[in-house]
């Protein structure tokens, strides 16, 4: 089962490697990991997308909690939540493809954020499925480069992750 784990950690050097090291040392899967400081600069927030049985996910959250730098851990996929991921795609945009790319970007509510005679950079935000669908819609040969941020997640409503 796929799970989205959100955690707050002390914004200390080495905190990221402790978490990455935990996943590799204990053989847990890691699909994506994002990290950035929060509005409180002493705290970083991570979103980890992982897969595993219920027992494995329970161990993952316990092991994450056990790290001294970890302030809070929650499996946000246990309840209604929102996931978003940012993607930038550099595509070949010449001839008929140039117009087609523009139309496709509009359909997906993507934005073209860089333009040259021969290329576009298209920015798209959404859940993983939407991003995957966009990539699938583009003729494969036209994709020059893609970069994805990994998933960020937040719970809906009153469920709040705070230190």
């Amino acid at each position: 089962m796929r799970h989205v784990i959100a955690l707050l950690v002390e914004n200390e050097s080495g905190a990221l490697s402790r978490i990455a090291g935990l996943f590799s040392a204990r053989g847990y899967n890691i699909e994506s990991l994002t990290v950035a400081p929060t509005e409180d600069p002493t705290l970083s927030r991570m979103t980890i997308v992982t897969t595993g049985s219920d027992e494995v996910i329970e161990q993952i959250t316990k092991q994450l909690n056990k790290l001294i730098d970890t302030v809070k851990v929650t499996d946000i996929s246990e309840a209604p939540h929102i996931e978003r991921e940012l993607m930038m795609v550099k595509v070949r945009a010449t001839g008929a493809d140039r117009e087609e790319m523009k139309r496709l970007a509009d359909i997906f509510r993507a934005r073209i954020i860089d333009v040259t005679d021969t290329t576009y950079v298209i920015e798209l935000t959404g859940n993983q499925g939407k991003l995957d669908a966009f990539l699938a819609a583009i003729t494969p040969g036209l994709i020059l480069e893609t970069v994805r941020s990994g998933v960020c997640g937040i719970a809906r409503g009153e469920r709040i992750l705070k230190a």
Binding site: S13, G14, Q59, K66, I68, V71, A163
Partner: protein
């Protein structure tokens, strides 16, 4: 008044009440060693005694042994680069057994970190997977608080080693010294009290048991909960097994103690652990060496209550019905109170028929062995050691057959008397553990039970023992083989003894003498007791190396083979 980072280190250790530091100097820690020298000279009454080991691995092992024997935090001090890498085995050993140790390592100066400087290594990176936590101190202003945090983290919750990496320039910088009186860490607040509802549930389940069993581990010793455990076991009248790490929390010579469970556990311990209907696990972690094949263990239905300070130990390998997270001492006290409050007693009829069954299992006398008048049996040596020391010595061991024989045949009646590497299984710990224990308790007999292979992994410490006059007794069960490897090769590799025979062994007695100690070689069973008595009387104040030439064919039984269930034991060679 401002002082240097090096002085701050020593002053902080004083604040923590540190009496011994086990270490080895080198370039990156020279300022710290200088501060130690000067402060000790100025204030001899507050001396922090430095024990100069001969290899950094032994520094951490000795600090670890000191911690195991006393319950206090052990302290090791090593230099950067090879000093730190040599310490890693010691750190990992302490980590696997949850032993509170603070390791101070020197680091190259901050401006050259990352430039492959002389004796530079990423110590924080290398040790990260085998410490409870570690720190790199980048500024002298953080030094005192970091040391305070390190001791706090090491000794609270599930204890463990904490490393502080200190760059050389930080030890030269000046700062005001304020040692924090208290700490508030939003990210680290170990649970102490157990959930009252869970404790009540546990009390109810225990009283309803028909075939109850108590299974305890190293957590009871680490949590200083032996008195509470004894009270509970006596109150209920239930049988108890203790793991290798838990021996001594409940008296080994008490009838309610069934022995050690697991791979080399007793028949009665393993059978009772398997066939019980309510199992109370306390500070134990259902290790693979304890429950054997997990699927086989789970075939038998039972209610499991698990008390542990570390939530991640609960339901890690075996699903638990009644988890209780908390400090074992506090939870056991609350459990006792909950049992009192219930005003019920265990089902005596069920309990007495359960004990009847257990006594039938015990009647198999699984630890019986055939003694010999020709060749020394290792079990006999341990039994005699128990007699001669009246069961009151601190016993350390290395890893292998001798470790199991010591665990099986020396009955530990008190906690912190049995020091060995259970989790990591580190050969070489025995002598440095004995050093740490002897420094802590100079009046107690301290014995290192070892083998000719293990002892050679830290034998250089015989030199340290001479310098610091540590009259440890070394009981070397010398079978000329890597005994446990040989046993597995005999049983599972058709007797192909690949690299398990040690040719060209030293004359250990002569070697001990060359270090300035007493060395005695014992070849005949009839000389065993006299040699032991001589070591503890004539040579009471000297280190004595007793080199017992034992039967090289002797194996450790009972044995649960890897992958087998607890009830599928081999009780002796005749069953093969």
């Amino acid at each position: 008044m401002k002082m240097t980072g090096a002085e701050i280190v020593i002053r902080s250790l004083q604040e923590e009440g540190v009496r011994f530091v086990f270490g080895y100097p080198g370039g990156a820690v020279l300022h710290i060693y200088d501060a130690l020298f000067q402060i000790n000279q100025a204030e001899p009454e507050r001396e922090i005694r430095h024990v100069l080991v001969r290899h950094e691995q032994a520094a951490v092992h000795a600090a670890d042994g000191y911690a195991r024997a006393t319950g206090e935090v052990g302290v090791a001090l090593v230099t950067s680069g090879p000093g730190a890498t040599n310490a890693v085995t010691g750190i990992a050993t302490a980590y696997m057994d949850s032993i509170p140790v603070v390791i101070l390592s020197g680091q190259v100066p901050t401006p050259v970190i990352g430039q492959d400087a002389f004796q530079e290594v990423d110590t924080v990176g290398i040790t990260r997977p085998c410490v409870k936590h570690n720190f790199l101190v980048k500024s002298v202003d953080q030094l005192a608080e970091t040391i305070k945090k390190a001791f706090h983290i090491a000794r609270t919750g599930r204890p463990g080693p904490v490393l502080i990496d200190i760059p050389k320039d930080v030890t030269a910088q000046l700062a005001e010294f304020h040692y924090p009186k208290s700490l508030a860490m939003r990210s680290y607040n170990p649970v102490v009290k157990g959930h009252p509802g869970q404790i009540r549930k546990a009390a109810n389940a225990l009283l309803k048991a028909k075939r109850p069993m108590i299974y305890t581990g190293g957590g009871v010793i680490l949590g200083n909960a032996a008195p509470e455990l004894r009270a509970l076991v006596k109150k209920l009248g239930y049988p108890i097994v203790q793991t290798l790490m838990g021996l001594g929390a409940f008296p080994g010579s008490d009838r309610q103690f069934l022995g050690m469970p697991g791979m080399h556990g007793t028949y009665e311990a393993n059978m009772a652990l398997h066939y019980c209907d309510v199992l109370l696990a306390v500070g134990a972690r259902f290790d693979d060496r304890v429950v054997g094949n997990v699927d086989h263990f789970l075939q038998e239905p039972r209610t499991i209550i698990h008390i542990d300070v570390d939530p991640s130990s609960i339901s890690k390998r075996v699903p638990v019905d009644i988890p209780i997270v908390g400090d074992v001492k506090a939870v056991l006290a609350d459990l006792l109170a909950a049992l009192e409050a219930l005003d019920e007693t265990p089902d005596q009829a069920a309990l007495s028929s359960w004990w009847e069954q257990i006594e039938a299992w015990r009647a198999r006398k699984c630890l019986a062995y055939t003694n010999s008048s020709e060749v020394i049996k290792p079990q006999f040596v341990i039994e005699k050691l128990w007699e001669v020391t009246k069961g009151e010595a601190i016993i350390t061991s290395d890893v292998g057959q001798h470790q199991m024989w010591a665990a099986q045949y020396y009955r530990f009646d008190a906690p912190r008397r049995w020091l060995n590497s259970g989790g990591l299984g580190t050969m070489g710990v025995g002598l440095p553990y004995a050093m740490g224990a002897k420094l802590a308790f100079p009046e107690m007999p301290v014995v290192c039970v070892t083998g000719e292979a293990s002892i050679q992994m830290c034998i250089q410490e015989l030199s340290t023992c001479k310098q610091f006059r540590l009259p440890i007794k070394i009981v070397n069960l010398n079978n000329r083989y890597l005994g446990m490897v040989r046993q597995w090769q005999e049983l599972f590799y058709s007797g192909r003894y690949s690299e398990s025979y040690m040719d060209s062994l030293p004359d250990f007695a002569a070697l001990a003498r060359s270090y300035g100690h007493v060395g005695i070689r014992v070849d005949r069973p009839s000389d065993v007791e006299a040699a032991l008595r001589e070591a503890f009387t004539t040579h009471r104040d000297e280190l004595v190396f007793l080199d017992f030439q034992i039967d090289p064919r002797e194996n450790v039984y009972p044995m649960v083979q890897g992958g087998k269930g607890l009830t599928e034991m081999i009780l002796g060679a005749e069953e093969l």
